[in-house]
Symmetry: C2
Subunit: 224 residues, 2 copies
Amino acid sequence: MHVVVPFAATEPKTRLAAALSPSERSTVARAMLADVLAAVVGAGHEPTVVATAPLDLDALPIADDVRVSTAVSVDERSLTEAVNARLPNGCGDEAVAVVMADLALTTVDALETLFSADADVAVAPGRGGGTNALVVRHPDFRVDYHGASYLDHCEIARDVGANLETVDSFRLATDVDEPADLVEVLVHGSETDRAPASLRELGFELDADGGRVTVARLENSTTE
Amino acid sequence: MHVVVPFAATEPKTRLAAALSPSERSTVARAMLADVLAAVVGAGHEPTVVATAPLDLDALPIADDVRVSTAVSVDERSLTEAVNARLPNGCGDEAVAVVMADLALTTVDALETLFSADADVAVAPGRGGGTNALVVRHPDFRVDYHGASYLDHCEIARDVGANLETVDSFRLATDVDEPADLVEVLVHGSETDRAPASLRELGFELDADGGRVTVARLENSTTE
């Protein structure tokens, strides 16, 4: 299966601006990408990072086996156009999976559940009506990431006669967009994951004092 | 399996105050409870609603088969105390499941995945480190819902020598606490569910105009 991982290589994760400086956002975004790539390779596939600008794999915090299994393709088009250019378009084409680079909680198990769904289109929705990961086996299905993309993808599948399965996964539903999402990375990340490590290195820790869990940042831990 | 559904019968869902009046919050909370009870019964179990005040099942929007399968137990203690009083405490005790009443996206499938986990303790985490549903088979395990309860429950299980399995479900991870959560109800609720129907009756609909999906409320649809 082709596994495409779209990545905004310049100015990623702007909605984390309240918590992280631009260079810190870049560090955390690359750590999340590293975790996603490791999970894809762990699930037995060779990912292609579709990046909006050149990306140096040697500068990513990934193991050698992940590095040699990963390709980079630079594509300056919109997310929707770049993904659609890589979907199956004829009979006999291999299935294509699209996994977002900010799914920091992704595990091999979660990906295998998605990849093993045998529907024409399998979608793991994100919060807020988004589409965080999907597998496309139907030659006529195309994505549209604008707006409520999960509902749009259900409709597009209907329109082209493709059956669609929704994959129920908290890990795949959790894209890290906003400061509140950092809590999930620290709660559910494993000890070997890069994303929680990068946050801890930047001084973030869980704060459960107030009843509800938030992240707090140690004093003097900002890097800019 | 005993299935306990804790329910705050008076002034439920105060964090929805920005979107709903007190009586509307009560209506939506009861609709979500109805959906949870229907899913529990659909999964082949007889739920007990543990309510903080008397609750009239006849006033809930539930089908007859759900009503006759459901018991109500009034318990004014804290959530933690009320749940702990109902967990297994000796060898041979039946497993006990605890499913929160605001899991509006709950389905029979999601519950069956949780209920079929054979660990001593199976936990479906909620966002923000919470515990939205769990199954307890170990006689020494006790809950503590204060703070980062998911992490606390992992630690409590370790302390009493119980193995713990984390169940990865977006549906079970989605408790409806804040106005932004209403989006999930409208996106993922089925046509037969009461919670999305109650929101639509109150004038809510999805608004995908801004790129990100929110809920909007029709003018003149407030009931107070």
